[in-house]
């Protein structure tokens, strides 16, 4: 039975997987892809999990495909980097049960460290890329991807971007079609990529892609749309919707499958128009392929490659019409900040006084790098805090300058990130004798992406109780001799422990353990208050960067914004005058 729902692209992918009879799905949280698995988890027919990282998730899904199940992998764009090794191999191996790879890219880096264009993964690994433009297509293409994967014995990429993942549209939803799990079949020539087998698999992969190229020419998701004038637009993904709106009279080649490219359709469009624009976000992937065919087109010289596209940028590209500049006057920025009551705040406040080199990682706590805490020096990728700290240590061990040599190195990593990619780095630091301090900010959840479970929480994505792996025990088992567990809301104790850990000449681990106050509100207290007679205006509390504390320039006293305060007491603990007090209602 058909039903209309208002779904985000992420939810539509989940709906499509469900309708296609998907059995297994795995992922690691990452914006803008997180909601795909959260939506999958609402369908009881699909086994789904938060894997510890994307490489693991990919291998789980590949294994499920080998077992004959329809299987879905999803991650943000950089997640596929982590999973790249099994991903490339899986193109050779192909699928048994349908194997669908959803990547959600983030042009404009709304919540990411780069704006890499994952369509290149399709080209590099030789797998087809479907590029939906809206929620309906996210659903339809996910279903199609399962069929193509089984029909052509290949993994299939569905490439979303933030504006398809996090945009909602009206989607016609259908019932689930049950597809029985085929079961496992031993086939070493296919599933075991020794060079002797892989050579044949590569040749077979090239043939599979040739067959897919034929499909790309004839499928209705690639189509030429008739226009009124001599201008043609080739577009995929959400860029198609912007172009369609800004230039409705143009001819279009809409690419639902952008790789392999339907060259006959490109030539058909070229025969109808005098001028072709290629409109795609980020890199000139389609443009280069069109130019390689010897067909002239206008691409990145007009259509920006840095930051996401929008209707205004396309109006400028097509018609040289720039939006009118509006002078709003000076508007102070409002970047994200650590929340009131954040358990990371006291740790950063202490570290900013101890002044070691602080290598950071990926999570809410990366915001500790911002003023006024300024307590982070580096952030590279998931897990890099520990390994980069180790590398800096080894470099500084080999320098003459005593001041450099004496520098202390502290790695700061979250609990979920620690399980994702910190374990190997910590083992490496112990194995290669690195006297670094690793602070594990254990707030008991994957906070940044909206509170997902992980191996340290004792719960699964499907809501089941499971073994809770203890961070401190893991650190000890990996050979760290100096391990502390502290409550970051005990400022004094945390400071003493950090000082001691940093002073050691051996690897040390400090677990700052307390639940994210947004996830667990059970310990919220009534708002604190500042006695203005006792406050001397020193601004030490303001230096915590807590949104609930501000400074009144007229009275030159600090004040607490009651509606924001969670009663964590850190400001009271750092106030040298004892001017900040718990509510008497507590």
């Amino acid at each position: 039975m058909s039903e209309k729902k208002f779904l985000s692209g992420d939810e539509a992918v989940a709906q499509g997987a469900w309708e296609a009879g998907c059995h297994v799905a795995a992922s690691y949280p990452g914006t803008p892809a997180t909601e795909i698995l959260e939506a999958v988890a609402t369908y009881p027919e699909i086994y789904c999990e938060w894997s510890v990282n994307e490489k693991v998730a990919y291998e789980v899904v590949l294994g499920a495909s080998m077992g004959g199940a329809r299987a879905l992998y999803a991650s943000k764009h950089v997640g596929l980097n982590v999973a790249a090794d099994p991903f490339f191999s899986s193109a050779y191996i192909g699928s048994r049960g349908g194997l669908v790879v959803v990547t959600a890219d983030d042009p404009s880096m709304h919540s990411s460290q780069n704006e890499q264009d994952n369509r290149y993964y399709g080209i590099a690994a030789k797998v087809p890329v479907l590029s939906p433009s809206d929620s309906q297509e996210c659903k339809d293409f996910t279903k199609l991807a399962f069929e193509l994967s089984e029909r052509f014995n290949i993994p299939v990429i569905v490439r979303l971007t933030t504006r398809t993942s996090h945009a909602n549209g009206v989607v016609t939803c259908d019932d689930r079609v049950e597809v029985p799990v085929k079961g496992y079949e031993k086939k070493v020539q296919k599933n075991l990529i020794l060079p002797m087998f892989a050579r044949k698999l590569h040749a077979s992969l090239e043939e599979r892609m040739l067959a897919l190229k034929e499909f790309s020419e004839t499928t209705d998701i690639n189509r030429v749309e008739k226009g009124e004038e001599g201008v043609g637009v080739i577009a995929d993904g959400v860029a198609y919707t912007y172009a369609k709106e800004v230039y409705p009279s143009a001819w279009f080649l809409k690419l639902g499958m952008m790789h392999p490219l339907p060259e006959k359709l490109v030539r058909e469009l070229a025969s109808k128009v005098k001028k072709i624009y290629v409109v795609e976000e980020n890199d000139p992937v389609i443009e280069q392929a069109v130019k390689a065919m010897g067909i002239a087109c206008i691409g990145k010289e007009k259509v920006p490659r840095v930051l996401e596209l929008n209707p205004d940028r396309l109006r400028a590209a097509f018609f040289d019409e720039e939006p009118v500049k509006i002078d709003t006057g000076d508007v102070p920025a409002r970047p994200p900040a650590l929340c009131p009551g954040c358990t990371h705040r006291p740790v950063f406040h202490i570290l900013s006084q101890l002044k070691p080199v602080i290598t950071g990682d990926i999570g809410c706590y990366t915001l500790g790098a911002l003023p006024p805490l300024n307590a982070m020096d580096t952030c590279v990728d998931m897990g890099a805090s520990i390994t980069v700290a180790h590398g800096i240590r080894k470099a500084l061990d080999r320098i003459e300058d005593e001041k450099q040599k004496q520098k202390k190195i502290v790695a700061v990593i979250g609990d979920s990130t620690f399980y994702h990619s910190g374990l190997t780095g910590l083992a490496n630091a112990v194995y290669n004798s690195s006297p670094i301090t690793v602070v594990i900010m254990d707030n008991r959840i994957t906070a940044m992406t909206g509170h997902q479970q992980h191996p340290g929480t004792g719960k699964t994505l499907m809501g089941e109780e499971t073994t809770e792996i203890d961070v401190a025990e893991v650190a000890r088992a990996l050979g760290v001799k100096h391990v502390w567990v502290v409550d970051p809301n005990n400022y004094k104790e945390t400071k003493e422990v950090l000082k001691e850990a940093i002073s050691l000449d051996e690897p040390s681990v400090v677990v700052a353990k307390r639940a994210c106050p947004l996830y667990d509100r059970s310990e919220w207290q009534r708002p604190y208050w500042i006695n203005t007679d006792e406050c001397n205006g020193c601004k030490i509390c303001v230096g915590l960067g807590c949104p609930a504390i501000s400074f009144d320039a007229e009275t030159e006293k600090a004040k607490v914004t009651e509606v924001l305060c969670t009663g964590c007491s850190i400001c009271a603990q750092v106030c040298p005058k004892g001017a900040i007090h718990a509510s008497e209602d507590n």
Binding site: K4, F6, T31, P32, H110, S111, D134, T162, R163, H166, A167, N168, G169, V170, V238, T241, Y242, K244, E245, N310, P311, D312, R315, P323, V324, I326, T328, G329, D330, V331, P332, A333, R334, P335, P336, A337, L338, C339, C364, L367, L370, P371, P372, M448, G450, L518, K539, V542, G543, G545, C546, P547, I549, S550, F551, A553, T561, V563
Partner: protein
């Protein structure tokens, strides 16, 4: 000739219910049989940053984003955020509905600068058609400051052509039973406040 698309830009600060506001509005438009698109940026929204959504409905909507100068309405839950995104407003035909409620951005609460004091003067120039709607204050008055967004929705509804019953249905479906009554109240209050 296809019916014109209505563009509504929603702005505020993480935690103010901007996404919820947009979801309720989209649901109303969908139940009215229209094509609807919504786009939002919320990755870091919980961390107190600027949050915006684009809501568009009409006969057929392609782009999920509103062009600059294309918004028929900007609904802002915060004073400064109204100024920040004003370039999206259709200056001649569009209308700004904003809550003069102020939330300090980081530079302000860390005492590096003060909250701008001339926002009203700026808005007078930038948005000739505007309504100041103290939604937060009124939500607080009826007992739940978190209903600020629904007060705002009520205000917006008085300028849209949807049936009142559609909003009520959507509010009933969109909240836990114990929050339905307060939100219906908030909606009606917003509608009343915005009526001339």
């Amino acid at each position: 000739m296809p019916q014109k698309t209505t563009n509504i830009f929603v702005a505020g600060v993480g935690g103010q219910g901007i996404i919820k506001f947009s979801n309720l509005l989209c649901e109303v438009a969908m139940r009215a049989g229209l094509d609807v698109k919504k786009s939002e940026i919320h990755g870091m929204a919980q961390r107190g940053g600027s949050v915006t959504t684009h809501v568009r409905f009409g006969e057929k909507v392609y782009s999920p984003l509103i062009p600059q100068g294309g918004a028929d309405f900007i609904c802002s839950m915060e004073h400064l955020e109204a100024v920040r995104h004003i370039a999206f407003l259709n200056r001649e035909q569009g209308r700004l509905i904003y809550d003069p409620y102020e939330i300090a951005p980081p530079e302000v609460y860390t005492a590096q600068r003060s909250y701008p004091k001339d926002i009203e003067e700026r808005l007078a120039k930038l948005a000739p058609n505007r309504i100041a709607l103290p939604a937060f204050e009124n939500a607080l008055k009826i007992g739940n400051s978190r209903a600020q967004n629904v007060v705002m929705l009520g205000a917006l509804s008085s300028f849209l052509d949807f049936e009142q019953s559609l909003y009520e249905d959507v509010i009933r479906a969109g909240f836990k039973p114990k929050y339905v009554d307060i939100n219906i109240k908030a909606f009606n209050l917003g509608k009343e406040l915005a009526s001339p």
